[in-house]
Symmetry: D3
Subunit: 69 residues, 6 copies
């Protein structure tokens, strides 16, 4: 009964991509630890770029730098 | 000073139901572990059905199957 | 498919008390939100008192104060 | 590579305040544990007051009491 | 900068299996969302079977039933 | 009533350093968001280096590389 939580920035993750993350995580637990597929829960959290920091800066600021702003 | 996090799918949980989850969790910690009520925190996360997976599928897909779609 | 995470300080929680927390949380989700019992996951984390802080102090320090040390 | 998660009620946290939380957490880990700044992740979760409970009541109810309602 | 948390029961996960979970999660985020590998963090939590509940029972109890006890 | 969770690798964090993390986080929430000190909870998780991955590798492996192994 694994539980997988995936946190990513909220930058346009599509429903199809979410399905791939759910399927891929579930398959990974099955392949590595032989966990029955129906017992795996996956929760995806999409986090606003203002609310995610790396290296002391928000991802909002990092993205602006990447764009040369 | 317990901390309880309840994650459920975002399928119309009312404010009254949230109050019952908060009250019920707090009472449970008091009853079982004798934790003073004022020290218990409860955080409820409502997760979009696209973002929750069980058995490799999103809850969105599971709900559609349940409805016979 | 609710997921409940209960964090408490690691101060001698017995296996019987853990079973009561698991049973009680599962029953709460069933009663309030009509969630099928078999779909509820509960994870209990026991946290060392050095690793839990309230009001800027560790619970280790708070417990010493309560004992009049 | 520390990971810091800060949960606060969703009561008007500004982007500037979020930047201060990100910067402050990152600096704290650097100062106390000598963690390189670029390896620290910070995620801020803003939780609706209906979804946060203290002492068995929602923060929505607590705020109403504080206002004398 | 994704963050992946994998919780599994503490039933003999080897260091090699942990490496496969870390590698597999990182590859999944790269494949599905094009996330640079060096920005993905993975944290694996191993939870004692007394501390994990499914369907109102501890995994300790479920495992005993599976063994026919 | 903020809740702060700090995850770091389990590489010899002392009780004094934990107290500094608790005090520092609590002071940060007070300074930035004016949160009363007594309402802030801090939980520190120490994660084994086998259980933490960055860039697809465990921290155990990264530390060995840093030591030139």
């Amino acid at each position: 009964m694994p539980y997988v939580n995936i946190k990513v920035t909220d930058e346009g993750v599509s429903a199809a991509q979410k399905r791939m993350l759910i399927e891929g995580s579930t398959a990974l637990l099955e392949r590595v630890l032989n966990k029955p597929r129906h017992t795996t829960f996956v929760v995806i959290d999409e986090v606003a770029t203002d609310n995610w920091g790396v290296g002391g800066e928000s991802v909002t600021a990092l993205r602006a730098k990447e764009r040369g702003e």
